[in-house]
């Protein structure tokens, strides 16, 4: 008798689950799955967008191994991600924590820190081109005042990547907002009891805030990795992948192949290689998450 009730309960749970996620499943089947499968199919063809695709088997994939620009774009993208993702996470968390320390003017500050997210892409492009301008740009002007001759920034092959990482740090407003929402959920009781136990500021952060924020960190980390590996706009709007391919991001090179070189088949193959890379990284983060992400709902 008892067993039967347990079964129906589990079945009901399963049905409720599928009912709840059904909007996404329908949308996925209707709008997403088809295009994904078609792009996979296209990766085995030569397709110039103007004529019908031609089946060429694994040629696109083997071509990648001999394409030096493919390796270059992979390298560029990984170097960028390795630096920008952790730096962005740390800086945005620091800003969010600082914003939580003040009472007066907090609304204004939060809005200000969010501005970079809403400024249009074109404006950002012009602005940063001026800021990074070796001759009359803001950074080099300031450096000149203290007697340093600044580098060529995005116009110098050796500095372009650094410039883009610096630029990515300016654009942390969105992540800050998510941290803030996460911090808003940390219960004040925990802080109070920990303070009563004599915990100092660092201990509070390490043993109360950080664990409570771990689900948010998990989100920001995965989204950061996915976003960084798909970086596109910086190359498209500001550098065209240059100078000398030093900012040839993977996604940009893919786009160039699709719409400039009329090689949609090759672009699709590149897209699926990137897909595999990202999903492997995500699964690794997922597998590791059980040891460092604490969900209140799973607290035993």
């Amino acid at each position: 008798m008892k067993k039967k009730i347990y079964l129906t309960e589990s079945k009901r749970k399963t049905i409720t689950f599928y009912l709840l996620i059904s909007p996404w499943i329908i949308g996925f089947l209707a709008f997403v799955l088809g295009p994904m499968i078609i792009s996979l199919f296209m990766s085995f063809t030569k397709w110039d967008l103007l004529t019908d695709p031609k089946w060429i088997g694994f040629d696109n994939y083997t071509k990648m191994f001999g394409d030096s620009l493919f390796y270059q774009s992979l390298k560029v993208t990984f170097v960028y991600s390795i630096f920008s993702v952790p730096l962005q996470l740390i800086l945005s968390l620091a800003v969010a924590m600082l914003l939580n320390q003040i009472n007066w003017g907090v609304k204004v500050f939060r809005t200000i820190y969010y501005i970079p997210v809403i400024v249009s892409g074109v404006a950002v492009m012009v602005l940063w081109s001026y800021i990074f301008n070796p001759e009359i740009g803001l950074i080099n002007q300031v450096l000149k005042m203290v007697g340093i001759k600044g580098p060529g920034w995005i116009f110098d092959e050796d500095w372009a990547m650094t410039s883009l990482v610096v630029m990515s740090l300016w654009n942390i407003g969105g992540t800050v907002v998510i941290w803030l929402a996460g911090l808003a959920g940390v219960s004040k009781d925990l802080y109070e009891s920990a303070t009563l136990d004599g915990a100092n500021k660092w201990q509070l952060f390490r043993f109360v805030t950080l664990p409570a924020l771990s689900p948010t960190l998990f989100y920001n980390l995965i989204m950061g990795v996915i976003g960084a590996l798909q970086t596109f706009n910086q190359a498209y709007i500001m550098t065209d992948g240059g100078p000398n391919n030093s900012t040839l991001f993977y996604n940009y090179y893919l786009w160039v192949n699709a719409f400039d070189n009329f090689e949609m088949g090759y672009a699709s193959a590149m897209a699926w290689i990137l897909f595999i890379i990202i999903i492997i990284l995500t699964l690794i983060i997922f597998k590791s998450s059980s040891s460092w992400v604490y969900y209140e709902s799973e607290r035993k």
């Binding site: 030569k46 110039d48 967008l49 103007l50 004529t51 012009v126 081109s129 301008n133 070796p134 001759e135 009359i136 740009g137 060529g152 116009f155 110098d156 100078p243 000398n244 719409f259 400039d260 070189n261 009329f262 949609m264």
Partner: protein, 432 residues
Amino acid sequence: MKRTMKWIVALSLLLLLTLAGCSNNEGSSGKGDGDKVVIRVATWEGGDGHKMQQEIAQNYMDDHPNVEIKVESVPDNYGTKILTQIAGGDAPDIFQIGDGDISMFQSRGALEDLTPFIEGDNGLNIDDFYKPVLDVGNIDGKYFTLPKDYSTYAVYYNKKLFDAAGIEYPTSDWTWDDFFEIAQKLTVEEDGETVQWGTNLPGASTRDVLPMLYGFGGDVISPDGQTVEGFMNSDGTKDALEFFNEMLRSGISPTPTQSEAFQGADLFLSEKVAMNPTGIWPTADYVNAGMDFGVVEVPGGPAAQKSTIYYSGYGIYSKSEQTEAAWDYLKYLSTVGQEILAEHALSAYVPAAEAAGQADDPHRGTFVKSVDLINMFPERLNPAFNKTAGTEFVNVLTQIVGNEKNASLDIPGLLDDAAAKGQEAMESEMEE
């Protein structure tokens, strides 16, 4: 809370229904009212260019009440949109096309052959056009695009700076050596920093260095578009690029870092550069700024004096279901419509160009005269060029232009290498 949820659900359902209602009405307008023929025309021009196109379309519709012309303007990401529309089966009937893409689109059968229309009853007199410009759209004796506007390549010079340095204005019979000499005289240094450059040399752009190559008897591809070896690495090309390198190293022009750094700002306009070799585009800005400047033909070299062309045209999509109607509008756009466009850009339709006084204009006139100096550019001669041999050549240019530390370069060696690799890549691309 439960109530609020219900409200939200009900409200959004209602809105969704309204939405459905709204766009159902819109959806039916796809084919026009009744038996109106709808011709879609795609252009990448925004701003004033778009307004003129609207005006032309309106004039045409006033005369043809049974036709609706839809001008679809895509000032940003034009290529992405057009290719998506073509691949997705929803392409416009007429679309604007840049010079570098013509042979690509033509070789893939995306462009309708206009020759039968031109020669037909509702045809065109091709003698009404500047032939070298019209020929950009002519592939193997057949016309695939008609010119919308064009520009040749010439040299702007700042009369004030020339006067200040006591240098005579250049004339159409000048040479690249004269150009170099004048540019050196007009380069001014103060405290080890250049405050005025003699000229603004092109960057790593094949089209912009072509006039120099031609001048020295070089080229990048054979006239039949099949061979780069022996052309890209010909003595003329080698001499021209050695000369280009010498000019770059002499400091008469801002380095690419400097000039790229000033993107958006025009160094000629701000009088930091005395001679600016480029196309027609900045003329209006210079005139509006009240500058005292002249325009002279591109210098000649030991072998020839040749310019190059920048062109945008209109073609009819080969799968358009109403090519007759599309042709009628394309013809209108390329002739009568040119009267409006000629106010703004160089027109290849002679009556319109003459009506606008383009050939007699003190500044624009030089660009019109340079039409006789045009040589056909490589991307038009071979659709595979840009992706293959063209990339190799740009690599060489990039090394020359980007050599800001003045390392010694084996330019002939680089060119031999590029030509060999380019030839191979181009042939294998053409086989496919």
